[in-house]
Amino acid sequence: MNLLTAKSFKKLAVRPEFYVFIIILLLSLFIQAKSGLFFTNNNIVDLLRSMTVPLIYAICAYLGFISTGPDVSFPLIAALSGYLATQFVMVTGYSGSIIVVFLVAIACGLVMGAINGFIIAKYNFPSLIVTLGTTSIFSGILLGVFEAGRIKLPESMIEFGQQSLIKVTNAETGLGSSLPMTFLIAIGLYILTYLFLNFTMAGRGVFAVGGDETSAERAGFNVKKIRFGVFTVNGGLAAIAGVCYSVESTYFLPTEFAGMEMIVIAAVILGGTRLMGGVGTLTGCVLGTLLLTIVTNSLILVGVPIYWQKFIIGAIIIVGTAISVIQIAELKGFRRSKRKKVEVA
């Protein structure tokens, strides 16, 4: 093997994404070997469908960590904006483009995100506390003030949810599955986020602020504006996820949203996003989400009871995090031993 590829392999091998990828590979091969049902067209499409909403949430969690710290409010922002958009359609009897429904939800989400952003940026409060607080408030508004219950979605929304991108049927088992249009939305959002983070100064600012706040300020980044922006955008993203989730299930289910934040955050951390800020990739978000989706979706194929899934998810998170911690320690150890060699030489 020539030196260059060996070197680039080494570089790759220290990335947490690489390990998540290996785990995904091993896990899927294991499930395939045991059940023969993993690499089937309907299972793959099923996985992609289940990933759609968590993938969008993952961007929220990712942006939060990169710039500031945890954002746990996205599921409830998704729920409340999804509800408001649904109500808008029901009350006005609007039956036009689904885009308008999304826009209504996004507007609501942006407002809620802006509340988070305002408190966090202006008063410099920890984002975890603030978003926990607003989560509770949004939940209170949804279930208490609006008394939201289970709602069958209006026709126009259901129609959008039933349009499919790909439809497959497994020739052997006869099981069918379809990939909804919402998957395209998730892909689009990843592309937009990628372009924003890598090719705009504001996007680099998100990393700079997360890396060192004081340095960012001295360099000329507007730290408060960037933080406010991130949490506001998170609100908008969450709203999109909320509508996607509803149209996929054809019902608005107000109590189904809460609790998603933990597994999404776990996926993002697993994918190598650093809790302390400034470090992490979108690839990592996708891989982390994929891994946890496989665990929740496909372990059932090898007969693992549903209760054990949580156990396995927990174990994966701990092992996954441990790997990156060991890596950092090794990296330091590696440097020390290198220095020692120089001394002796």
Binding site: N198, F199, T200, M201, A202, G203, R204, F207, A208, G210, G211, D212, T214, S215, A216, R218, A219, G220, F221, R274, G277, G278, V279, L331, R339, K340, E343, V344
Partner: protein
């Protein structure tokens, strides 16, 4: 045109009720390396912040290039060509060298999008100015401290800096790195850049600076060419105290051997054999990475030796952990007191007493607070910690006084062997003098003391015998009669 790059006159600054700057003057000539010295809290940092526009002065005036500047703001000061290299270097550890170098300039030009080619061009231009050789695509967190500083310097030069203010730039650097930095400073000087060098390290001031200004308690006490300054004058102006030449405790009677190592090896050093006698102060010196830090860790049970023996009072001992080390009468005052030694937010009292809690508590393990108060008060008095109240957190003390608290804690446990790693790093002259005296006093009382230090003057002034370490081995032993700064420099 004025011959002064910057001139501040009669600057006053209040923080609440504290009069931090009492009408200070500072004239820096174009193209000179000007040193600003003074003990902690003398107003050095405040005047820097006034010059850079971070603090608004409560009186006085600032002239840049002979032109009065009414309202100095951070952006105005950058426009005037004033750049500060902060102690923390203001870098982004999570980003590449390229981005660290290019951000300021790109942001200043109000560009909204990232142009990678332009980023790289800016970065290359920046490192070329000081012939800085670095992997531009590396993440800054993977680089050594010295490189982070060079990033900060080259970034400052990009903005056409005319005056670079360096706030204690050598604190975290090894000797070699300091030398390299001085070369860069000289190069900048040749190119006509003016430098304000903030430091309280005597040797550095004499080596690199043309002019020196000393602040004390918010007033400037002297400003003169370095050639008119000497060590004694420097210490006097810094502290306002005259230091007598130390003779007391210099000649001590050495007792029997208290600590001995035989062919001791561990990660970082190998085959180290030496003895330490009661009442002796043994210096261990060597570059960073010479293995001296590891040696002290091994003696304190923080690093497991691979081979060899440690003997305490001729008894072979095994030191698996610090608790055992303390039982055997070994104490270690670590190099980085802030992260390894002190509980900064806790009170001075608690910090002093922590190693002795067992003795200060009753059978049930409940601490007797009266005993604790007495103990703490005694040490604060004996060792001269400058504080009004020992209930204050340690973080409120100056570096020198924090070090005294740490010393008090270990001395309180009355060890047989006291190991100090860089005992006066970041400590001002007055406190340094006090600490050295204290160590001599302890040695006279029969304690065996090991001082690990880079500071040649410190070693010469306090030690009876010095071991020089290089590449993990003892390469020389210098006896007291041969001990002076010059011979030591030859060995290191």
């Amino acid at each position: 045109m004025s011959e002064n790059m910057i001139s501040v006159k009669g600057i006053h600054k209040y923080f609440g009720g504290v009069h931090a700057l009492k009408g200070v003057e500072l004239q820096i000539k174009k193209g000179e390396v000007h040193c600003l010295a003074g003990e902690n809290g003398c107003g050095k940092s405040t005047i820097i912040k006034v010059i850079s526009g971070v603090h608004k002065p409560d009186g006085g005036e600032i002239e840049v290039n002979g032109v009065k500047v009414d309202h100095m703001t951070p952006s105005e000061s950058i426009k005037q060509g004033i750049q500060i290299i902060y102690q923390d270097f203001s870098v982004f550890p999570n980003l590449t060298v390229i981005e660290n170098l290019a951000f300021n300039k790109v942001l200043a030009s109000k560009k909204k999008f990232v142009n990678r080619k332009e980023f790289r061009r800016i970065a290359e231009e920046a490192i070329k100015k000081i012939n800085f050789d670095v992997d531009l695509d590396a993440l800054v967190e993977t680089l050594p401290v010295a490189d982070k500083q060079l990033i900060a310097i080259s970034r400052a030069l990009l903005d056409n800096a005319k005056l670079i203010i360096m706030d204690e730039p050598t604190t975290a650097l090894t000797k070699k790195e300091v030398k390299r930095m001085f070369e860069i400073i000289n190069k900048l000087k040749d190119e006509g850049v003016t430098i304000l060098f903030v430091s309280h390290k005597l040797e550095e001031v004499f080596e690199i600076c043309d002019t020196v200004t000393i602040f004390r308690n918010g007033e400037n006490v002297i400003s003169c060419p370095v050639s008119e300054m000497d060590e004694k004058k420097f210490s006097f102006h810094m502290t306002g105290r005259h230091f007598a030449e130390v003779t007391e405790g210099k000649k001590r009677n050495l007792g029997e051997t208290v600590l001995e190592t035989k062919q001791l090896s561990a990660r970082g050093f190998n085959d180290v054999s030496f003895t330490l006698r009661k009442g002796e102060i043994l210096g261990i010196t060597g570059q960073l990475g010479s293995g001296r830090t590891e040696l002290s860790l091994a003696l304190f049970g923080l690093l497991r030796p691979d081979e060899g023996e440690i003997l305490i009072e001729d008894q072979k001992v095994n030191i698996p952990n610090p608790t055992k080390a303390q039982e055997l009468g070994i104490a270690l005052v670590p190099e980085d007191r802030l992260t390894e030694g002190l509980f900064l937010p806790q009170s001075i009292k608690r910090n002093i007493a922590i190693t002795r809690l067992d003795e200060l508590s009753n059978k049930l393990g409940v601490v007797n607070s009266e005993l604790l108060d007495d103990e703490s008060a005694k040490w604060v008095r004996d060792i001269g910690v400058a504080t009004k109240n020992d209930e204050f957190p340690v973080s409120t003390l100056s570096g020198g006084n924090q070090q005294k608290v740490l010393l008090a804690r270990w001395i309180a446990s009355n060890p047989k062997v006291l190991i100090l790693n860089g005992p006066t790093v970041g400590v001002d002259i007055g406190a340094k003098y006090d600490i050295h005296n204290l160590l001599r006093k302890l040695a006279s009382a029969g304690m065996g003391i090991i001082i690990e230090s880079d500071d040649a003057t410190e070693i010469v002034n306090t030690c009876d015998r010095v071991l020089v370490m290089q590449k993990g081995q003892i390469t020389a032993e210098v006896k007291e009669e041969d001990l002076n700064v010059k011979t030591l420099a030859n060995y290191v």
